[in-house]
């Protein structure tokens, strides 16, 4: 299956791209994808646990399985206002 990963703020700087498509095995969970990305992007390991994640623009916990076509974003600490 294929999902789209979005990067914002410091995560975008660390990843060096605003978004990308990822081919993943079926059953990959939100947390699993975070761990995959953390291995590739060293700056992500400064977070001891997975940051808040959104699937299709809704906050979701790590155990949620991803599905083909999902839009996934891991969110660095927000700072609106």
């Amino acid at each position: 299956m294929r999902v789209r990963v979005l990067y914002f703020a410091s995560f975008r700087d660390a990843a060096g791209r605003p978004e990308e498509d990822r081919e993943l095995p079926p059953g990959t969970r939100v947390l699993d994808l975070w761990e995959i990305l953390s291995r590739e992007i060293p700056a992500f390991t400064r977070f001891p646990t997975m940051p808040p994640a959104a699937v299709n623009r809704l906050y979701q916990p790590g155990h949620v399985p991803l599905e083909d076509g999902d839009e996934v974003a891991y969110l660095p600490p927000v700072a609106g206002g």
Partner: protein, 136 residues
């Protein structure tokens, strides 16, 4: 639409209260010239726009539920803002001031907690730094 790339027009945002309103509480966040002792000349705001729109709608709905009688409006600026420019405005009208103050406070706190918006403080030398702590 809660997000805007254009300067926030506070007079237009203020609008007209409802006949049943007796209190209007307006909170405006503006760009400050320093952050923990370091000079700031501008702030760049970035958002996960589609999600920020839905989360802001969620904040408005939740605050309205928490404080019945309150009417809540929010606008948040994106892009590069100079010192003194409004970055966010929250307007709450209600029959009485207790509700207006409380609902306005709740709205800005929930916005800061949940809405996917980020800011990068720009220093006088042109370098920038993403704000990633609760002091935001």
């Amino acid at each position: 639409m809660y997000l805007t790339d254009r300067p926030i027009d506070l007079a237009a945002f203020f609008g007209a209260p409802r006949p049943s309103d007796g209190a209007v509480c307006l909170f405006v966040g503006v760009v400050r010239n320093e952050s923990e002792g370091r000079e700031t000349v501008a702030i760049e705001y970035q958002a996960y726009e589609a999600m920020a729109e839905s989360e802001l709608a969620h904040v408005v709905a939740s605050v309205s539920q928490e404080w019945p009688g309150a009417s809540v409006r929010i606008t948040h600026r994106l892009g590069r803002l100079s010192v003194g420019e409004p970055s966010v405005a929250i307007l709450v009208t209600a029959p009485h001031r207790d509700t207006a103050f409380a609902a306005c406070r709740l709205a800005i706190e929930w916005l800061k907690e949940y809405v996917p918006i980020w800011k990068r403080e720009i220093r006088p030398d042109g370098s920038g730094e993403w704000v990633e702590s609760t002091r935001a």
